[in-house]
Amino acid sequence: MDRIPVLALGDVLLVSIQVDLEDQLALALQEDLSDRIVSTGAHGVIIDITALDIVDSFVGRMLATIAAVSKVLDAETVVVGMRPAVAITLVELGLPLRGVRTALNVELGLKLLREVRLGAFASAVDSRPDPTGDTSAPPDLQ
């Protein structure tokens, strides 16, 4: 069966969907991505849907599931490149994709992932009990 390629870029996995998605292909992508997150230790996933001229409830559910599963596996998902007409249709369909991060393009998606990662790291450091009473951020975050 055909598979959608998953590319590793540093600690980010990049998926660009370039074909009209059959349901089985969408399900296969969901499984492939979970496996790759674990095998590569990736902390971010970018799904580029620039080429998709529609996102129906099946594909919308796939995107939401990928985002939720990757979150459990300590990776953030950003969906990028959604066309305006697709966004309008998704909202009217009743699937506003709450819980799925989006960015306009791959570059902004990567930037968002970096910010989320830094933010999560900073708050983890802040909430750690600090016996010295020193509340300043560690040097590597400054």
Binding site: D20, E22, D23, D53, I54, V55, S57, F58, I88, L95
Partner: protein, 139 residues
């Protein structure tokens, strides 16, 4: 009844597998472009067709889609008809409720596609099948 007179030939696509859902989308997309629907309306129509084709496959056990240009005396549009000979829908009101699903989906197929179309009609009979007719008009 939907007031829509055919203004061109009907195209038919049989639905018996996942790949046929993709074929229905492509057929409807091409017909929507030919009918000169706006990009947003094309997208809504193709998305609704995708939901309905999946319903025909999953709930109706397969069937067929019919795509035809229509006119109501004022505007041109595109009509899509989905026919199956499956078990029918026992409780139509429930089937139209957002979030109701018997196939493990999101339950947006019928309710969502009705919102995306301008006209929508569902005829179903227990044991005899379901026919959905829907139209998107040119603005």
């Amino acid at each position: 009844m939907i007031n829509a007179e055919p203004s061109g030939p009907a195209q038919v696509q049989l639905i018996s597998g996942d790949d046929d859902v993709v074929r229905v989308r492509q057929l409807v997309r091409a017909a929507a472009v030919a009918t000169k629907l706006s990009l947003v309306d094309q997208t809504k129509l193709v998305t609704a067709a995708s939901e309905l084709a999946r319903n025909t496959l999953r709930h109706g056990g397969g069937g067929r889609a019919e795509v035809q240009p229509v006119n109501n005396g004022r505007r041109n549009g595109l009509r899509i008809i989905f026919v199956d000979e499956g078990p029918g829908i026992p409780d139509v009101d429930r089937a139209f409720a957002d979030g109701f699903s018997t196939a493990g989906g999101l339950g947006l197929g019928l309710s969502g596609s009705r919102r995306l179309m301008d006209e929508f009609e569902l005829v179903t009979e227990a044991g005899a099948g379901t026919t959905v007719t829907a139209v998107k008009w040119e603005r």
